[in-house]
């Protein structure tokens, strides 16, 4: 266990340059950041989004002609998991005011707010309530809460610069002005943020921030927020029902064109059933498990972009799905930790990125896309990556975490990053003494379904919140703005949906005509495929096993 002999040798190089790098940091001297023009050049040459053949134009649906990641296009250009003819629309199994699809941060926040508006709520979620990327967010949540040095004005500028000025300005305005309210709300719900004795919250820099506005709870900020929201939803069990292992596979419309519920799939019994609702909030999160361009991912098991697919099929357009976020620092060693997220807070706390020679090659607080492109460049073009033992042709870069103890005092790494410290310790690596080996990993879906600042969409009764929506982050999200996105827009969606149901009349006759229409469009576009979507769960079976699965049709008892 621990580092191999070759790696231990290479670490000596990092140790050699460390004292000088620490001294520079202490003196306030940073590695020069790239100019906006240099950033553009770096992205175009080295970011995976710009790789030839990575994107494909959609041939069907509301965003026909838009080029996005081909793995997502494959999901869009596929047939429904169910034959729309077979859905019995007269047999409704659940009726509620607001149906929320997705049990992560956005969905749960929406449930709480809708309930406070007097709505009865059902959360339908594919895995367990709370199994979501929200749970995994480590670093923190941004909000301009310190009026003596920060304001929504600066937060807005940072968000736009990170997103290459392409963001939807009104969504950003909503996010940055709602941000401090969210922090106050979470505090009131009992989230244990790190704070001083007087109650003042700890805040740190994130990449691309001009002020320290990253609030955090150790290195498990997302988990702390998620489990708190979930716990509160459980206190409201009378009004908030949760259906687990029940992913939505299609949406329902009524004869007036209002979204009116969904078709859910019981993952265990393989039955489908219908939920009729006066409003639907889509909060299914992202799609990292589609493994865009074959990248490893930090995303949770259920992140297969289901909401994108069924929202798109119903007629809601998409944007910014050409831009995928690769987190600069995914673990690549040891093998069992591969793809695991190493929070940006490690760099926020001062750890450099260094190459095989122990040299810095990039400022450690560039926005994520720039940082990732720079790491890829260092490992490919420059050839200064660290070869990963046992994985020919794969390289990594050192994330010099021991600097943090030297900068902030012995024990800081263990105190500030307890989860990662314990984990690596188990693998025989002490990250307060030894650097970590990292490489960019597929992390976030920057884009998604189109929605308005009140979370409404072009389909009445259909609302969008969190990672499944696109626009607020432009082409690149900054650290700490995803926990913020899910809580801000989750709350907004819950409020809007809670109001919407009051003005909505009786639900008309249910239909899934849009599915049949979409199938027709596929045929007209001459797309011949046996693919069905949404994917629901990724398939990690080996080719060897598949070769021996000889069942051709699934009839009878054994599947």
């Amino acid at each position: 266990m621990g580092y191999t002999q070759e790696l231990l040798e290479l670490i000596k190089q990092v140790e050699k340059t460390r004292p000088e790098r620490v001294a520079r940091k202490k003196a306030g001297e940073e590695f020069p950041a790239l100019t906006l023009d240099q950033r553009k050049d770096r992205l175009e040459k080295y970011h995976p989004d710009y790789r030839a053949g990575g994107l494909r134009e959609l041939t069907v649906g509301p965003s026909k002609g838009y080029a996005l990641a081909k793995e997502i296009a494959d999901q869009f250009e596929a047939r429904s998991r169910v034959d729309p003819e077979r859905i019995n629309l007269d047999e409704v199994h659940y009726e509620t005011d607001v149906l929320i699809i997705g049990g992560g941060g956005a969905g749960t926040a929406a449930a709480l707010m809708a309930q406070e508006k007097g709505a009865r709520v059902i959360i339908a979620t594919k895995l367990r309530h709370g199994d979501a990327n929200t749970m995994m967010a480590e670093g923190g949540i941004q909000a301009a809460t310190k009026g003596w040095k920060d304001s929504p004005y600066y937060h807005y500028l940072d968000v736009l610069g990170g997103g290459h000025f392409e963001n939807d300005p009104e969504l950003v305005q909503t996010m940055v002005t709602e941000a401090p309210k969210v922090i106050g709300w979470l505090e009131k719900l009992g989230c244990m943020f790190n704070k001083w004795e007087d109650g003042k919250l700890f805040t740190l820099h994130g990449a691309g921030t001009c002020r320290k506005r990253m609030h955090y709870a150790g290195d498990l900020t997302g988990a702390e927020i998620m489990r708190t929201l979930r716990d509160e939803a459980r206190n409201r069990i009378k009004d908030i029902g949760v259906l687990e292992f029940a992913p939505a596979v299609e949406l329902l419309l009524d004869d007036k064109g209002n979204c009116s519920g969904a078709v859910l799939y019981n993952l265990e019994t393989e039955e489908y059933f219908l939920v009729k609702a006066k409003a639907v909030v889509m909060a299914t999160g992202g799609c990292g498990r589609l493994h865009i361009q074959g990248f490893m991912t930090t995303n949770h098991y259920g992140a297969t972009g289901d909401g994108l697919v069924i929202g798109y099929r119903m007629g809601v357009g998409v944007r910014f799905l050409h831009a995928t976020q690769y987190h600069p620092t995914g673990a690549v060693f040891p093998e069992q930790a591969e793809g695991l997220l190493i929070t940006e807070k490690v760099r926020g706390a001062g750890a450099n990125l260094v190459n095989i020679e122990g040299e810095q090659f990039v400022f450690e607080r560039e926005p994520r896309d720039i940082e990732s492109a720079s790491i890829i460049r260092e490992c490919t073009k420059i050839g200064n990556g660290i070869p990963i033992p046992g994985q020919a042709g794969k390289f990594g870069i050192w994330l010099d975490s021991p600097m943090i103890d030297m900068l902030e005092g012995e024990g800081t790494v263990e105190k500030e990053f307890p989860a990662k410290f314990i984990l690596f310790k188990r693998y025989g690596i002490d990250i307060s003494k030894q650097p970590m080996l990292i490489y960019p990993t597929l992390h976030y879906q920057n884009g998604g379904l189109e929605y308005q600042p009140d979370c409404s969409t072009n389909v009445p009764g259909f609302f969008v919140a969190g990672e499944v929506g696109g626009g607020v982050h432009g082409a690149n999200r900054l650290m700490g703005n995803s926990l913020l996105d899910v809580t801000v827009f989750g709350r907004v969606a819950g409020n809007t949906a809670g109001e919407f149901i009051k003005g909505r009349g009786e639900i008309g006759k249910l239909n899934v005509d849009h599915v049949a229409k979409y199938h027709k469009e596929l045929e007209d576009a001459e797309i011949v495929t046996d693919r069905v979507s949404p994917m629901v769960l990724p398939d990690y079976m080996t080719a060897e096993v598949k070769k021996r699965q000889w069942t051709t049709t699934y009839v009878g008892t054994v599947r």
Partner: protein
């Protein structure tokens, strides 16, 4: 025809040479033998064996608590525990996942409930049944001193219980092993929420900022930015003043008109 087989090739190629690996070791999944790569986590090994996980798999990163697993090794009576996504396989281990275990959960109003021993005992009377056997601590995959936080809760030291249980992933192994039938992790989250809500002072600066926003102070500034052209935005972005990394918490910028 474009087929699923081609669609999925990118997923399978995640580990292209799996079948040719020479470092296979035997493990027993619910008693049945499979040969799996020696460096794999239990989770990857189960998938390598051919299982499609539905339950027992969530974040795959050691924080969601979906994949609690218990195992034994041959020739020993000891019960080991771990999260399947974090624990590397060992030759001849025999294991089962515990993807769900029921536990009592109280419904409470956080605004009303007091952060003391009485309130905890009322919500979870089974607390009194703890016999101090320490099985919970020994069975925690996150190395949390579970029994210590339960003792703290019994004493009414809610804050201590909160701090000790901070890295709890609520996987439920403690509850599955407890002879006194406690649902420790539900008691722990109550302690943490009580601490966050009632025992730690609120951040005054957050309330100040909310008041500033509600007074409309930033509306013109933000609409100025929304209506600015790209060139202006780029200039404002590039020239914005950076708070120094090692600066004091009470650092103040030169430019104050946008605060």
């Amino acid at each position: 025809m474009d087929t699923v087989a081609t669609q999925q090739s990118s997923l399978v190629s995640q580990a292209p040479d799996l079948a040719e690996r020479t470092d296979l070791v035997p493990i027993f999944i619910m008693g049945k033998k499979y040969d799996v790569p020696s460096t794999f986590t239990i989770q990857k090994a189960i998938e390598f064996a051919g299982y499609q996980l539905i339950r027992g798999c969530g974040c795959r990163g050691g924080i969601c608590g979906a994949c609690a697993t218990v195992y034994r090794k041959p020739g020993s009576a000891k019960i080991y525990v771990g999260l399947a996504c974090q624990t590397v396989v060992e030759p001849n281990m025999y294991l089962t996942m515990v993807p769900f275990f029921p536990a009592n959960r109280a419904v409470y109003d956080l605004e009303e409930i007091k952060p003391d021993a009485q309130a905890l005992m009322k919500a979870y009377p089974e607390l009194a049944k703890c016999m101090g056997c320490n099985t919970c601590t020994k069975s925690c995959p996150m190395d949390i001193p579970v029994m210590e936080y339960i003792s703290a809760a019994l004493r009414g030291d809610v804050e201590k219980a909160a701090e000790l249980s901070m890295s709890c992933v609520m996987c439920g192994i403690c509850a599955s092993r407890c002879p006194a039938e406690l649902g420790q992790y539900n008691i722990a989250i109550l302690c943490r929420r009580l601490t966050g809500r009632h025992l730690r002072p609120r951040a005054g600066h957050v309330q100040d900022m909310i008041e500033r926003i509600e007074s409309g102070r930033y509306e013109d500034m933000l609409s100025g930015l929304i209506n600015a052209d790209l060139q202006t935005l780029r200039k404002l972005y590039v020239e914005r003043e950076m708070e120094p990394h090692t600066g004091d918490e009470m650092w103040e910028p030169q430019e104050k008109q946008f605060l």
